[in-house]
C-alpha cells in the first residue's frame, strides 16, 4: 500500500484533468452574436419576427459538448393551408452560426424534429420558423457547456 517512488514525481501533461480541452474544441475562432443576426438577415431581410409557437428542446447543461441534443417543435395544424415551411437553427458561440435547417411539409403531421450538434462553449441557440403564410417566429435558449466534475 506504499507509494511507488517513481509515481511521486511523474507529470501528467495529458489525460487527467485536461478537462478544459475535453469539451472545448481547440483552435476555434469564436463567432459573435452578430453572425447569427447576419445569417438571419440573409434569409429574411427586414422581416419582423414574433415570439411564441416554437418549443426548443435543449439541455440546460450539455453533457458532452460534442453531442448536444437539439429538438424543436412548432405549434401548427400542419394542413395544406397552414403549415410550417422551414425552420433554421443557429448557435451564437460556434465558429459558424448555422446548425441546421429543416423543410417540413403537411405530410409530416407534426412540425417536430431532433438532431445532435457540437457546441464549443456556453452559448445561445436561436431558432427561426417560417410559416406557410410567410409569418416568422423566433425563440432563443442558452445551453451551458461546463468542464464538470466535483459532483457530490
Amino acid at each position: 500500500m506504499s507509494l511507488a517512488t517513481n509515481s511521486r514525481r511523474e507529470f501528467l501533461k495529458t489525460g487527467s484533468l485536461a478537462m478544459l480541452a475535453a469539451v472545448l474544441a481547440p483552435h476555434m475562432v469564436m463567432a459573435e452574436e452578430a453572425d447569427v443576426k447576419a445569417a438571419i438577415e440573409k434569409l429574411y431581410a427586414g422581416k419582423s419576427m414574433a415570439s411564441g409557437k416554437i418549443k426548443l428542446d435543449l439541455p440546460q447543461i450539455a453533457e458532452n459538448g460534442l453531442v448536444v441534443p437539439v429538438g424543436i417543435e412548432i405549434e401548427s395544424p400542419m394542413t395544406d393551408g397552414d403549415y410550417v415551411k422551414a425552420v433554421h437553427i443557429f448557435a451564437d458561440g460556434n465558429p459558424l452560426p448555422g446548425v441546421i435547417s429543416y423543410k417540413f411539409t403537411p405530410d409530416c403531421g407534426k412540425a417536430s424534429a431532433s438532431a445532435r450538434m457540437r457546441l464549443a462553449r456556453t452559448q445561445n441557440i436561436v431558432a427561426v420558423a417560417e410559416m406557410s403564410n410567410g409569418s416568422l417566429f423566433t425563440a432563443k435558449q442558452e445551453v451551458k457547456v461546463t468542464i464538470g466534475g466535483c459532483g457530490g
Partner: protein, 111 residues
C-alpha cells in the same frame, strides 16, 4: 482525413401504422462530419467533409428535408414525424460535400 469506411445508414421506422397515425422516424448514419475547423498536429486545417443534406421521401414525394452545417455531431442522428396515409416505401438519402449519395429504404404498411 478521408473516411476509412463508407457511411452506414440505420433507420427505425414502424413497419405498420393506422391511417392518420403520427409515427416517429429515427435515423442514424456513421460519418466523422469533419467540420473544417480542426487542425492536424502539423497545424494544417483539416478540410471540411460533412454530410450536408438529408431527405426523406414517401412513395416518391419528398416529405422532410434537413440541411446540415458543420456544427452537426459525428454519426448524425435525425428524427422527425410523418402522418401515415397509405402503404408504401420511405427512401432516405444522405448527400456529402463531394456529392456522394447514401440511401436507405423502409416499407410501411397502413391498415
Amino acid at each position: 482525413m478521408s473516411d476509412v469506411k463508407a457511411p452506414v445508414p440505420r433507420v427505425r421506422v414502424p413497419a405498420n401504422a393506422k391511417a392518420g397515425e403520427l409515427i416517429e422516424i429515427k435515423t442514424l448514419i456513421s460519418h466523422v462530419m469533419e467540420s473544417g475547423q480542426r487542425r492536424d498536429s502539423g497545424g494544417n486545417v483539416i478540410p471540411r467533409h460533412i454530410l450536408n443534406k438529408f431527405t426523406a421521401a414517401f412513395n416518391g414525394k419528398t416529405v422532410f428535408e434537413a440541411e446540415w452545417h458543420p456544427a452537426i455531431s459525428a454519426n448524425p442522428y435525425q428524427s422527425f414525424f410523418y402522418k401515415a396515409k397509405e402503404s408504401g416505401e420511405f427512401v432516405f438519402k444522405w448527400t456529402d460535400d463531394k456529392g456522394a449519395v447514401f440511401e436507405a429504404k423502409s416499407k410501411l404498411t397502413v391498415a
